[in-house]
């Protein structure tokens, strides 16, 4: 077993790190205050190849494997989770699903734009009344002379107000997962309204929206995969998506640690740098160990994906541990910073606010435990 990165992986990681240091980090606090990262970042990320990782070059992607993708997500997560999340959703959940399940026409229509950053995608699963229990979703897709009419609403949709295409999960059949179908809905379809959700604790730089569908008409060519196959498309997207969120969380934990280390080395109390106090080292050591452990879980999951082996449980383990690590690490960083950590001129506060959502979305920590528990015991606690 060899944990050394190949020359190409290392060059990609270095590229992402340099981009973050030069173009993200100096702007992070400002973007957070105005609650918006610039929209132009999306094509910029596309230029670097970050919006098309793991997607075939023939489809307009930039190629590369899931380890490559994870390395970039870690660096972006270290920089700004709002930026990392734009990519996780548009590439990780939407473009990858189109690449895996799309017809040639659907791939041609959406993938080159999504991979270049000319287009942005969003993933519409959660509804006001269905979060963890996504299989109970209610948004209806009623057949209407060869077309479908979509009616209902979606909640907490990342990229929602910016997106050009919605990967939408809607009910075409009876109750439960088998009645759900995936659609690729152009965001400018008549009858689709989008409103921004304000007042988020973190991830303030990225848009999160509520989507309202009022008899939105789409053709049968908008169906992604098979009718009734939508839930499994959503779940397989989320399985891989968890690796991406986990990788981003490793980056956030590392960023928190790095900021805490720098501060601890500079801050003097009781006549010496606080880095020299055992209780401070205790926090720093916890952060370092957990960050590295989380990264190893991420790399294992990415490696399983790349080798075509089952990875869902390992992805849940990585997501559970890495996101909880990011929250703890950011909280520790705030503690190391003392009162300065509590104001937004310093990094810990934003790391903490941004990390907090990662244990909630793409399956809460409890849901990850149920997935892991089901795999361990063979008994599902969901139903």
């Amino acid at each position: 077993m060899d944990f050394t990165l190949t020359e190409e992986h290392e060059a990609l990681r270095a590229l992402a790190a340099e981009f973050v240091d030069r173009e993200i980090t100096p702007n992070v606090a400002g973007w957070d205050r105005v609650e918006r990262v610039p929209r132009e970042l999306v094509p910029r990320l596309g230029e670097l190849g970050f919006m098309g990782l793991t997607i075939d070059e023939a489809d307009g992607g930039s190629g590369g494997d899931h380890l490559a993708y994870s390395l970039v997500m870690e660096e972006l997560g270290r920089g700004d989770s709002s930026v990392r999340g734009l990519v996780s959703v548009s590439l990780g959940l939407v473009a990858k699903s189109v690449a895996a399940h799309g017809t040639p026409a659907q791939r041609e229509r959406w993938l080159p734009g999504l991979c270049s950053g000319a287009l942005l995608g969003c993933f519409g699963l959660t509804e006001p009344d269905t979060g963890s229990d996504a299989a109970s979703l209610a948004l209806r897709a009623d057949p209407d002379g060869g077309d479908y009419l979509l009616s209902g609403s979606k909640m907490f949709i990342t990229n929602g107000t910016w997106a050009d295409v919605v990967l939408l999960f809607a009910r075409t059949g009876g109750p439960g997962p088998k009645g759900i179908t995936a659609f690729l809905v152009p965001a400018d379809a008549p009858g689709l309204e989008r409103t921004e959700i304000r007042g988020k604790l973190g991830l303030r730089g990225q848009p999160t929206a509520q989507l309202f569908f009022d008899e939105v008409r789409v053709g049968a060519d908008a169906v992604l995969g098979q009718e009734g196959g939508g839930f499994s498309i959503a779940m397989s997207a989320l399985d891989k998506g968890r690796v991406s969120v986990a990788a981003g969380s490793v980056g956030a934990a590392r960023g928190a640690l790095e900021s805490a280390l720098a501060h601890a080395g500079q801050r003097t109390q009781f006549g010496r740098p606080i880095a020299g106090f055992q209780l401070v080292q205790d926090m720093l050591a916890d952060m370092a160990v957990e960050t590295d452990a989380a990264r190893l879980l991420v790399w294992r999951a990415a490696d399983l994906v790349d080798r075509g082996l089952p990875f869902a449980t390992e992805a849940s383990m990585a997501k559970l541990f890495a996101t909880e690590t990011a929250v703890r690490a950011a909280n520790n960083a705030m503690q190391v910073f003392g009162g300065y950590g509590y104001i937004d001129e310093y990094p810990p506060g934003k790391y903490l606010r941004d990390a907090r959502v990662t244990t909630l979305y793409e399956g809460t920590s409890q849901i990850q435990k149920l997935i892991i528990g089901r795999a361990l015991t063979g008994v599902s606690a969901f139903s």
């Binding site: 190409e8 060059a11 990609l12 981009f19 230029e47 190849g49 098309g52 930039s62 490559a68």
Partner: protein, 259 residues
Amino acid sequence: MNIVVLVKQVPDTATERKLDPADSTVDRAASDGVINELDEYAIEEALLLKEKHGGEVTILSAGPDQATDSIRKALSMGADKAVHLNDAALHGSDALQTAYALAQALGTVEYDLVILGSESTDARTGVVGAALAEYLGLPQLTLANKVDIDGTSVRIQRQTDEGYDVVEATLPAVVSVVEKINEPRYPSFKLIMAAKKKPVAKLGAADAGIDTARVGLANATTEVVDFAAAPPRAAGTVVKDEGNGGVQIADYLAAKKFL
């Protein structure tokens, strides 16, 4: 338009840099090697000229094995191929000897233009470009903040303290650039993957026709007699405002050529 860009790997300026006490040369193992910052501007300028006029961009780097990393980075920015001059006999060569060795290595490449950074962050002699042009018998256009090519001639703006001079020469020529010239691009993932397949010719001193009696520490034309750590930074000047504080500050800035 075939362009050769000279790229030097230098110790990262963000890390602590050291000299090897044994022979007073840069301790390259002590810190990470990166592309000399100004050379990135040279690469960018070559890529921009290539986008306009076509042709190929070749990277030429003289350095030990680890310089390969910087060559790959240059290729992943978009250069087409590279020549890596690597020979133990070159260790400790001074600026003049390096210019001689590079001139010899350039004999293995076809080019219309040579572009390099105006100085390196490690040695800061700023003479390699000029010496190289002398060895090659080519015109030298130094300190360019703008480069235009028109058929058979090259015209630059040479940055000066007061503004700029316009300097022109016929091709082939040697141009050194300053950082005002452009904003170097990042590699992209596709270019990183493509860089792996781009050809890197490895040259020893003999392959380049370098006379080893003219290079290396033992034959250097300059000698580092002694070196010492930089003294800690002196305390700043405090200007007391007794009605003329603004004037004092303006005078100070003018003396330092900031105004």
